[in-house]
């Protein structure tokens, strides 16, 4: 009934509103919160991966100078503090106490907390706590954990099996019976350490019965909910603030033991409390990512047509079940395995297992990079087997553009997609046609050159609440937004999303600006404070913020706009259909010289003495948006590598990607998300791996051993995009936070295997490190000589 929203700011490279404070050092991160009288927590952590706690002696620690309190798991349990929240229906849920009471289940499990006047004093005293452990047999490998006789990590459950998750479609037996070609791969998606640059931290104060808790979190509202339930505080008396948060990538997508502990200590000690993780501590105590091992079999015809896919996978959950781990390994994984392809028959089973390792949870991409990696490696293996160009195998199996909406064999519905143009553009950007010349030139240098493709579809916009429920997830997948226009016309957007680098302050103000006909500069976006929020916020993860939270903002802005128009129509004595909202003015179509300012309307809404009959005063709107479907971004990435023939070292020489995330609100921000995502995916392909020994000791225990990519490890990127709007939401946006990570890992791995394929090498596990490649070359050379 009113004029459609214009797109003056949507689509523009609006400079970031977040930057001024972050480039001057004014941003407030959790560890920057220092309050008078503050005390500091240091945690004593188990050196054993699995051991019974016989006795804890805290006497010496209590005598250390500056010590305020020392607390064991039993002490904490006695106060009524509950296990770290997590309960997943139909899954075998571990009882995870904030501090271990009876036994430790991974190296790094907390056994005592020391509180002291300074950080140094707390750490010194923590060193003085002595614990008598009875070491128990350890299981590190998830497959072994499911074998009979394996040590049981959580004894009360009687098994290490967390879940068995099957998804089936079509006639898989027939597919394999009819297949002209079958290929099989054993695939390891190695364990990764997220390494958000900001270590975790929690600060809290308890004043006048109200707990304020600052935390490095992606989900402040869940922290508020769980802390209030756990500490027995009314939810309105718990204020959780996620101030500047220095990256998350899933590692801050938990309600962590330290949040409960610091909250508890602030409440009981009556003094402000802070805990800041040291990086090596974080390597043990902050969730890890990936760690899926499985087998894929592909049935196909000789012409490259895929007939069926069978997968058996075991996912390592670590010692305790985390908030999203079972979701990542199941829903976000199994459903998206078919990717952009028509798969007539499908049979996947994922089992989750407890082990004596740091808990594993969502890490950028969460299930989808694992899925696309498995599939894209198998497609390349098939192409190799039948001697067909990998690009053409992909094209042959793409779901055609006229087939949408498309019901996948895994049981979800892709609303939209057009995969070939992204492939074509990526091929052109990467000079795919000219590659063989470059391969030959490298060979002349004694090197191996390879090119690798990955085409993906991801599942974003988490999530329709009913789908969540059907898939076994207890909580809804909506997001909230509130827009408040003050009498003066100042506009505040409150969002339930909780950005930590994603630039929501900028993008949300662009969305609201277009709806309200004002400038993004006149809009303030506030987030990450449960006392300032629209209500329940679900938070920022899974590339959900824009397609769910951004749409909530859009819808709230549309509601406000509607009221602005009604008031303006009343004041201008015009019909609402004729009212134009534009450039900070409101006027009747064709009569811009008789415009009212946006602020005249907002003032009128509060003066409330000349409003349309029956209209409520005020000018604000709150929306809880529950998406009707997921969104399905897609794209093709192409990597080119050159391998040093003598050392096996990989140089990533070229990287091209064409992605489709639907409408781009701010292309500058979209590109930034892709760059970072691609770099993280490259990290998995070439560099990163968390290594445990058989005793459950983390050997890659610091940044000295774990290879976080540097600027020298990552190339410049060539990016392009197509725009296929989703019909699922009114802006046609799909999400882009994880696309880069999902696309890049298989592209790089495929490039390395392609480089080595002339030697007869069919597969190597990630990370594709120099020695691993050198050994493969040696072995291949040896075999050829024989």
């Amino acid at each position: 009934m009113t004029a459609a929203t214009t797109t003056t700011y949507i689509g523009a490279r609006v400079p970031r509103k977040e930057d001024p404070r972050l480039i001057t050092g004014d941003g407030l991160f959790t560890d920057d919160v220092t309050l008078p009288g503050m005390v500091y927590v240091s945690l004593v952590r188990s050196p054993h991966a699995h051991a019974r706690i016989r006795r804890i002696d805290t006497a010496a620690a209590k005598k250390e100078p500056g010590v305020v309190a020392v607390l064991t798991g039993k002490d904490l349990e006695a106060t009524g503090v509950l296990p770290v929240f997590i309960s997943v229906p139909k899954q075998s849920t571990s009882k995870h106490m904030p501090i271990a009471t009876d036994k430790v289940r991974y190296a790094g499990d907390a056994v005592a907390a020391v509180v002291a006047e300074t950080r140094d004093a707390a750490k010194r005293a923590a060193d003085a706590v002595t614990v008598d452990y009875e070491p128990l047999p350890v299981v590190v490998d998830a497959t072994k954990a499911l074998e009979p006789g394996a040590p049981i990590v959580n004894e009360e459950l009687g098994t290490n099996l967390v879940f068995t998750y099957p998804v089936k479609g079509g006639d898989i037996d027939k597919a394999f019976r009819d297949a002209e070609v079958k290929v099989a791969l054993h695939i390891v998606n190695q364990r990764l350490i997220p390494n958000a640059m900001e270590p975790r931290a929690v600060a809290a104060k308890f004043e006048a019965g109200e707990l304020t808790l600052w935390s490095t979190t992606q989900i402040p509202h869940f922290v508020q909910l769980i802390v209030s339930l756990n500490l027995g505080l009314s939810q309105n008396k718990v204020r959780v603030i996620a101030p500047e948060v220095g990256g998350g990538f899933g590692s801050k997508l938990q309600v962590y033991a330290e949040e409960l502990l610091v909250g508890h200590l602030a409440k009981t000690l009556g003094r402000p409390v802070k805990w800041t993780e040291e990086r090596r501590e974080g390597y043990l105590a902050t969730v890890h990512g990936r760690d899926l091992v499985g087998d894929i079999e592909l049935a196909a015809e000789r012409d490259g047509t895929i007939l069926g896919v069978r997968i058996r996978t075991v996912a390592n959950m670590g010692a305790y079940l985390q908030a999203f781990a079972p979701v990542s390994a199941t829903i976000l994984h199994a459903f998206i395995i078919p990717g952009p392809y028509i798969i007539p028959a499908f049979d996947i089973e994922v089992r989750g297992a407890y082990t004596n390792t740091t808990p594993v949870d969502a890490y950028r991409g969460a299930g989808r990079p694992e899925a696309i990696y498995v599939m894209e490696r198998a497609i390349d293996r098939l192409a190799d087997e039948i001697g067909m160009d990998p690009a053409e195998v992909r094209r042959k199996n793409f779901i055609p553009p006229d087939a949408f909406p498309f019901n996948t064999i895994s049981g979800i519905t892709y609303d939209s997609g057009d995969y070939a143009p992204a492939l074509d553009r990526a091929l052109a950007m990467s000079d795919y046609k000219g590659f063989e010349k470059r391969r030959a030139a490298a060979k002349a240098r004694g090197n191996y050159r390879g090119i690798g493709i990955s085409s993906y579809v991801e599942i974003c916009g988490l999530a329709p609440s009913k789908a969540n429920s059907a898939l076994g997830v207890g909580w809804g997948g909506y997001e909230s937004a509130r827009i408040r226009v003050h009498p003066t016309g100042a506009v505040q957007v409150f969002t339930g999303t909780s950005p930590h680098g994603q630039s929501h302050e900028t993008s949300w103000s662009q969305i609201a600006a277009d709806a309200l006909g004002i400038s993004p500069n006149d809009i303030e976006v506030r987030h990450g404070d449960t006392f300032e929020s629209p209500g329940m916020g679900v938070g920022t993860f899974g590339s959900r913020s824009l397609p769910v939270g951004g749409i909530a903002v859009h819808k709230a802005a549309e509601k406000v706009r509607e009221k602005v128009i009604q008031i303006a129509a009343h004041l201008l004595e015009a019909s609402p259909e004729d009212v134009v909202v534009q450039g900070g003015k409101v006027f009747v179509k064709g009569v811009p010289d008789k415009a009212k300012n946006f602020s005249d309307i907002s003032m009128a809404a509060y003066l409330a003495n000349n409003l349309p009959e029956g209209m409520e005063p005020g000018l604000e709107a709150t929306v809880y948006y529950d998406p009707p479907n997921f969104t399905f971004p897609f794209g093709t990435h192409i990597a080119e590598v050159e391998i040093d023939g003598e050392t096996g070292a990989v140089e990533l020489v070229r990287y091209s990607a064409c992605d489709d995330c639907g409408r781009q609100i701010n292309p500058m921000i979209v590109e930034g998300q892709l760059h970072g995502g691609i770099a993280q995916g490259i990290g998995q392909a070439l560099y990163e791996t968390a290594v445990y020994d058989e005793n459950g000791q983390l050997l890659s225990g610091s940044m000295m051993e774990y290879h976080v990519p540097t600027a020298e490890d990552i190339p410049a990127f060539q990016l392009d995009h197509t725009v296929t709007l989703t019909k699922t939401n009114p802006l046609g946006v799909k999400g882009v936070g994880e696309a880069g990570t999902i696309g890049s890992t298989p592209a790089v791995a495929n490039a390395v295997i392609d480089a080595l394929s002339p030697l007869g090498i069919k597969h190597l596990d990630m990370p594709l490190t120099p020695e691993k490649i050198w050994r493969a070359i040696q072995k291949a050379d040896g075999e050829r000589k024989r």
Partner: protein, 168 residues
């Protein structure tokens, strides 16, 4: 036992009693409240804590506060002068070289030192110069662009250098 040191931080001379065990970053963050300098690791890898010490990019987690007695230190808070942003700050914003912003202060400081000695670097040189600064958000692409762009801005305007940049 605390020792008295005098250190010039962002142009202001400060005399403070510090514990010998305290690192420069602890002096900056905890004693002086300059929390723009961040701590991202404990093994001198990440570079988030980089500040200028006598003009040289230095990991403030790997230098004792007492070792800076008599030195001149510049932190991210000291990059802007008289309300005017340093070109590296403008370039980081313009090129979208930061997302979460945690590594940004250290990266900008490293770049300031680097550009003072190499005013028109190649991209390869830029990447080499910042290998001691980890960023997990940006994939470095736009950071390289920003440093190149700042070099251009600095050449065009011949900015007066920070005192500590030219010392040595």
């Amino acid at each position: 036992m605390p020792q008295s040191i005098t250190v010039t931080v962002n142009g202001t001379k400060q005399t403070k009693d510090v514990e010998p065990t305290h690192l420069l970053v602890e002096l900056l963050r905890e004693t002086l409240g300059l929390t723009g300098t961040h701590v991202g690791c404990d093994t001198s890898q990440c570079g988030a804590c980089t500040v200028l010490v006598d003009g040289r990019a230095t990991k403030s987690c790997t230098i004792l506060a007492v070792q800076t007695d008599g030195a001149e230190v510049v932190t991210v808070e000291g990059l802007a002068r008289n309300g005017e942003l340093h070109p590296i700050q403008r370039a980081f914003a313009q090129e979208h070289a930061l997302q979460c912003g945690f590594c940004t202060p250290g990266l900008m400081i490293t770049a300031v030192d680097f550009l003072a000695r190499n005013p028109s670097p190649s991209d390869t040189e830029i990447r080499h110069a910042i290998e001691g600064n980890l960023c997990r958000c940006t994939g470095y692409h736009n950071i390289v662009n920003a440093i190149r762009s700042a070099a251009g801005m600095m050449a065009a305007t011949a900015q007066p250098k920070l005192a500590a940049e030219v010392k040595r």
